[in-house]
Structures are given as structure tokens and as C-alpha cells.
């Protein structure tokens, strides 16, 4: 078994480029992070920030071409996923790494029963017999809170509501007891009351099963409620990374700071006017030679045009382990940051 002290997943210098007719798109630029056992890492960013492409790259789910992983290492329990043969990789996907996608309707196959789809990874990866897989499938549906599980095995996805389908997706992802669960905007397509059900379920499952989770979202509210650590992405790179409490209390990157103020609150004082981040996100047609946020940044100065800032630690701990930020500007000390 792998060393318990090592992170379950470690990504170093990942770089993904899409080759299109119009030229190259540098979607992921030198992304490094790690995931501890049992930890929930939240990944926040807007569309096009590279958060989904990063996660798809590390398990090589992107069609190549056009995707081209130029650089990097992805160590799962010490083994590099980027060097694996397709055959080896297949043994990882769905077994050691589970995936939950945003839209539960399009990610379930409409012509197979729910039971069939849950049993598929069990039979493929765990070599279970049909009877064994069926027993386990019932257990899994129970686990994710679907009542009357045995009967539901014969149902088709269209007979389930959105929230129920997402529960099924989670059951499939958990089927082989993965080390890492990657959830890509799993609650975005759901209504708030259903979203609350799923978040509650994930909290429960973490306590029961203790797997590590990467949770991709653009919703800071979701992150605040469930994450241990947060990574903020912008322009295909990590711009800030910190434990969740630290990030919200003491954000360093101008983008993070602005983002926290653009979202209205549900309680407490009501803001007269929302903070606006002017301009548009960058189009990543070339490798970044300057800070990707500079055109929208209120603290822009000369250094920002000259070099893309590297991540630097701000609390003395090594980059990636404590609180770090990729910015030339130094934010004033924490007490000056207003915090309602």
C-alpha cells in the first residue's frame, strides 16, 4: 500500500494546450497542487479559467488531438498518470479516481438501467460476479440515500429527477472505493434545496468513507461550506491557494478580493452597490508572459506587464502547503481587510 504520509495526489507543472485551426489555446499553464488523504480541495474559477481542463488533463480524459499535455507530472500514490499506457490508465479511471460531472442527464447513458451502470465498474474493475455486483449496487444506492434501492436498479435515468440522478452519479463514482473523487460542478445544475441535499450527502460520505475530494465550482458559497483548502484559478493558472478560512478572511490576490465582493450576501448588511470587476477574462492564445489579470486589476503596475508572477508563500510555509499567491502586488495586512 502507498505511503500514508505522502499526498494521495500530486500535480507538478501541468501544462495543457489545445491546437485549433485558429492557433493554440494555452488552457492550463504550469499548474501545481497536491491533495492530502481525506481532504476536500475546492477549485474556484470562472468559465475558461482552466479548472475543468486541469482535472480532465490529469486523468487524461481530453481527446488528443486537439488537446496536448505538454508538460508535467501527475502522481497518484506515487505513480505518474501521464506516463501510463492506455491499459494501465483504464485500471485507474473509475477505480482509483472517480468522476462526477456537472450535468447528470448527459453523463448517464439513457438506454441502460441505473443498476447496469452502477454494476459496470464493479464488474470491470473488481471482477465481481453479477450477483455480487448487484448486492453492492444496492448498498451504494442506499448509501447515497435513494429509497427502495433494489427496485430502483431496474429504472432508467429519465425516471429519476435531477437530484436523484446526481446521487446515482455519486454512487457510480464511489463504486470501487476510489482514493480520489473529482467532482466537476456537481451541484451547479441543481436547485438550491436539492443542492443542499447533495452537499449534506457529500459531508456524510466523507465522514463514512474518508476519500479525498477535488470539488470544482464557481460558487464561493458552496466552497465556504464544504472545502478544507481552496485553489483559485484564473487564466489557466493558480493565482491563490489557502486553507478555506484563511482565503475568505485574508484574500491576497486582487482577483480573489474582488470576486468575494462581487457576490451579494444572504445575511448581514446589504451592500448599496456591487463591486464590479471591469473587463473580460483573457483569451489564452499565447503563453503568458505577463500577469493574466493585469487588464482588469486595480493594482496594476509596471512589473505586471513585464513578467507573469510566480506563486509566493505569504505565511512562511512552502508554496502549496500554506497560503500562497501569484501576484506582484503585496496586499496590506489582514486587519485592514474589511470582513463582515
Amino acid at each position: 500500500m502507498a505511503d500514508r504520509a505522502l499526498p494521495v495526489l500530486e500535480v507538478k507543472g501541468l501544462r495543457t494546450v489545445f491546437r485549433t485551426r485558429g492557433g493554440e489555446i494555452h488552457a492550463v499553464n504550469d499548474v501545481s497542487f497536491h491533495l492530502e488523504r481525506g481532504e476536500l480541495l475546492g477549485v474556484v474559477g470562472e468559465s475558461g479559467s482552466g479548472k475543468s481542463v486541469t482535472m480532465m488533463s490529469l486523468i487524461r480524459l481530453l481527446p488528443a488531438p486537439p488537446a496536448d499535455i505538454r508538460n508535467g507530472e501527475v502522481l497518484l500514490n506515487g505513480a505518474d498518470l501521464l506516463k501510463m499506457t492506455p491499459e494501465e490508465l483504464r485500471k485507474v479511471r473509475g477505480a482509483k479516481v472517480g468522476f462526477v460531472f456537472q450535468d447528470p442527464m448527459t453523463s448517464l447513458n439513457p438506454v441502460f438501467t441505473i443498476g447496469n451502470q452502477i454494476m459496470e465498474p464493479l464488474r470491470a474493475h473488481m471482477g465481481m460476479t453479477k450477483a455480487e455486483a448487484e448486492t453492492r449496487a444496492v448498498e451504494l444506492l442506499d448509501l447515497v440515500g435513494i429509497p427502495d434501492a433494489r427496485k430502483r436498479l431496474k429504472a432508467y435515468p429519465h425516471q429519476f429527477s435531477g437530484g436523484m440522478r446526481q446521487r446515482v452519479m455519486i454512487a457510480i463514482a464511489l463504486a470501487c472505493d476510489p482514493d480520489v473523487l473529482i467532482a466537476d460542478e456537481p451541484t451547479t445544475a441543481l436547485d438550491v434545496t436539492i443542492q443542499a441535499q447533495i452537499l449534506e450527502l457529500v459531508k456524510e460520505l466523507r465522514q463514512k468513507l474518508g476519500m479525498a475530494i477535488i470539488w470544482i465550482t464557481h460558487d464561493l458559497g458552496v466552497i465556504a461550506g464544504i472545502a478544507d483548502r481552496v485553489m483559485v484559478m484564473y487564466g489557466g493558472q493558480v493565482v491563490e491557494q489557502a486553507p478555506v478560512g484563511e482565503l475568505f478572511a485574508n484574500p491576497q490576490h486582487p482577483y480573489t478580493r474582488a470576486l468575494l465582493k462581487t457576490v451579494p450576501k444572504i445575511s448581514g448588511g446589504r451592500e448599496a452597490r456591487l463591486k464590479v470587476i471591469e473587463g473580460q477574462p483573457p483569451i489564452l492564445t499565447q503563453a503568458l508572459m505577463a500577469c493574466p489579470f493585469r487588464n482588469r486589476c486595480e493594482y496594476r503596475h509596471e512589473a505586471c506587464d513585464k513578467a507573469n508572477p510566480a506563486r509566493r508563500a505569504i505565511d512562511g510555509r512552502p508554496v502549496g502547503r500554506g497560503h500562497d499567491v501569484a501576484c506582484h502586488w503585496h496586499a496590506p495586512a489582514a486587519q485592514e481587510v474589511e470582513h463582515a
Binding site: 434545496t193 436539492i194 449534506e200 461550506g225 475568505f248 474582488a258 457576490v263 451579494p264
Partner: protein, 356 residues
């Protein structure tokens, strides 16, 4: 610049909706017989004062968009009255309706789908003028430029096509088009739902600025309860085709009265880990029933944590239980007494709204 209108001083509401119903028929079987109705909107009443923003919130399928569309008669309402500025829009003749259209406009959710990809920006914004005015081309073009200025679009973009713009800019085009005929009332149907977080604030601020300047009245339809808290003066919470609660904004968010409003607000994720850790959530069991086959009693009785026997048998009316606060729930005003299930939970939940 667009003409600034003096703040209206009339006391009668600009919009008065009475018992609006919008049923969509279901046909089934070989003979395509009419076998039932999807009661998307089933008896909704509210008013909106001039210059006010009414937020309309609820989950998908609750009928909030249908209300918006029926109000502007983009659907033919099944029953009810929709009085906009003194005229019942639901009953206007086609010709009278056409004359009425300039006063009431709509901003749609998906700026990609609601703009014709083959028309330039200038033609999109100018189309309402071609339909409803006999202005010269010069006058139209000047007005289009003014509209573009007021929504923050550069005049140089007038001959470009929608695909050349980002989502936020496209939404500005949609807003400029809605403003072209100097409307009094605009239905904003999830105008920010398709936009990224950092762009949402830009569009919401624009809508607020325009309202201040032009004295516009909005129906702001959204599922984003935090944003509605920011923009609306009063808020109506819909569930399965009916209004569960309609209250002034601050009252609703501080102390929701209807159990559904309470659960809905508690489910919103607060972007602050300190508050998030303290908040107690009400997790509703199950899903929303089908609007084709709603429960016999209160529409919320299948999921309500405080359900009573009467709830399963009798539909509650929307009544004013406190000044300006309307609730459709048997807990009010003859509360207490009636055999409430799960009493200990209920007391705990009473503090929910003020838990911070």
C-alpha cells in the same frame, strides 16, 4: 441621453395581477384527447408599484418564468387579469395589444439565443423602432447610439454581430433593445443566470442605474436569492405554480414566514466559512411534485417539515398576516393548536431566519 422621468407619485400600482392562471393542456392516447393540464401558474395575485422592483424567486419548474411571459402576454393566460397601467393586458384585442407593447418589455435569460445571429447590433436594437415608430433613419440611428451609450456599449460596435461579443456585452444588447421604446415596465427573466460571477455584478449595477435614471419598474425573476436580496424591494416566493410568500425584502430575509421560504433561504450557501459553519440548514426531503398532478391540499404538504392534517386537504389562501406580508400557509393566522407533527424541530426552526 434617455429622458429622465420624474419619480412617479401615483398611488395605484403600475401592475396589478389578479388570480392569474396559465395551464398547458396535455394530450395523450391515440386520439390525442385532452387528458389533463400542467398547471404551471395556478392562481397568482400580486401588484408592483411604479419604480419598484419585485423579485420573483423559486426553483426550476415553479412557474416563475411562465408568470413573466403570461404578464406580457407572450402566452395567452388561461384565466385572470393582468392590469398594466390601467389596461387589462390579458383581454386586449390584438391591435390594442400591439399599441401597448412599447410600454412593457422583456430581457431574456440567454443572451445567445435571444439575439438574431444574422442581424447587426444596430439592427437588433433598432428593430422595435421599425415596428412601432415612423421615425426617419437618421433619428433612429441617433437614438440607437444613445441607447448604446446608456448601456455601456461602444458606438463603434454598431455594425458588429452578436457572436463578436461576450456574454455580458450580449446581455447589454438585450437590455438596450428592451429600452428602445421607452418602456415603463421590464420583465427581467433570469438576466444574469448565464453569466460568470464577475460579469453578473456589471449587469445588475447597470439595471439599477437605469431604474434610478428612468424610473423603470422591474419584475426580476431569478433563482439566485442573494442577488434578489440585493436588487428587489419586495420578493415573491413561488412554489409549484403558487405564491407561498410575498413580503418586503428585509422582512423576508430576516424572518421568512412560510416554511418553504424558510427552507429555501436556509439552503443558500453563504460565501463566508465562519457564517456557513454557524448556520443551521433545513434539508427538505424529496422532490417537487409534478405540476400536472399537484397535491390535493397545500402544494408544499409533501415536503413541508411542519405539515398538519389540514394541509393535506385544504389549499391555503394567500392572506396578509402582517402589514405588507402575504403568506399562503395554514400556520397563519390561526397558528398553534392544530396538531403539528415534529414539534421540537419546529421551535428550533423558528430561529432559523435570524441565525447568522
Amino acid at each position: 441621453m434617455l429622458d429622465a422621468r420624474p419619480a412617479p407619485v401615483t398611488t395605484a400600482p403600475l401592475i396589478q395581477v389578479e388570480d392569474l392562471k396559465m395551464h398547458f393542456p396535455i394530450y395523450s392516447g391515440i386520439l390525442r384527447r385532452h387528458t389533463g393540464d400542467v398547471k404551471a401558474v395556478d392562481g397568482v395575485s400580486f401588484f408592483i408599484n411604479a419604480g419598484e422592483t419585485l423579485g420573483l424567486v423559486g426553483e426550476s419548474g415553479c412557474g416563475k418564468s411562465t408568470v413573466g411571459r403570461a404578464l406580457l402576454r407572450l402566452y395567452e393566460p388561461t384565466a385572470g387579469r393582468v392590469i398594466i397601467d390601467g389596461e387589462d393586458v390579458a383581454r386586449l384585442s390584438p391591435e390594442a395589444l400591439r399599441k401597448k407593447r412599447p410600454t412593457m418589455q422583456m430581457v431574456f435569460q440567454d443572451p445567445q439565443a435571444s439575439l438574431n445571429p444574422r442581424m447587426t447590433l444596430s439592427r437588433i436594437i433598432g428593430e422595435p423602432l421599425d415596428e412601432h415608430t415612423d421615425w426617419t433613419d437618421k433619428k433612429k440611428q441617433d437614438w440607437i447610439y444613445e441607447l448604446m451609450d446608456s448601456v455601456g456599449l461602444n458606438r463603434r460596435f454598431a455594425n458588429r454581430f452578436p457572436h463578436e461579443f461576450s456574454g455580458g456585452q450580449r446581455q447589454r444588447i438585450g437590455i438596450a433593445r428592451a429600452l428602445a421604446l421607452n418602456p415603463k415596465f421590464i420583465v427581467c427573466d433570469e438576466p444574469i443566470a448565464a453569466l460568470d460571477v464577475s460579469i453578473q455584478a456589471q449587469v445588475v449595477n447597470l439595471l439599477e442605474d437605469l431604474q434610478d435614471r428612468l424610473g423603470l419598474t422591474y419584475l426580476f425573476i431569478s433563482h439566485d436569492l442573494s442577488m434578489v436580496r440585493h436588487i428587489a424591494d419586495r420578493v415573491a416566493v413561488m412554489y409549484l405554480g403558487k405564491i407561498a410568500e410575498l413580503s418586503p425584502r428585509d422582512d423576508l430575509y430576516a424572518r421568512p414566514l412560510h416554511p418553504y421560504a424558510e427552507a429555501l433561504l436556509s439552503a443558500v450557501n453563504e460565501p463566508d466559512p465562519v457564517i456557513a459553519a454557524k448556520r443551521r440548514r433545513i434539508i427538505l426531503k424529496g422532490d417537487v411534485p409534478s405540476p400536472a398532478n399537484p397535491p390535493l391540499g397545500c402544494n408544499f404538504c409533501t415536503r413541508c417539515p411542519r405539515v398538519m392534517d389540514i394541509c393535506r386537504a385544504v389549499k391555503p389562501d394567500l392572506i396578509e398576516v402582517e402589514a405588507g406580508r402575504f403568506v399562503a400557509c395554514h400556520l397563519y393566522p390561526t397558528t398553534a393548536a392544530a396538531g403539528s407533527t415534529g414539534a421540537p424541530e419546529a421551535t428550533e426552526r423558528n430561529q432559523q431566519g435570524v441565525t447568522r
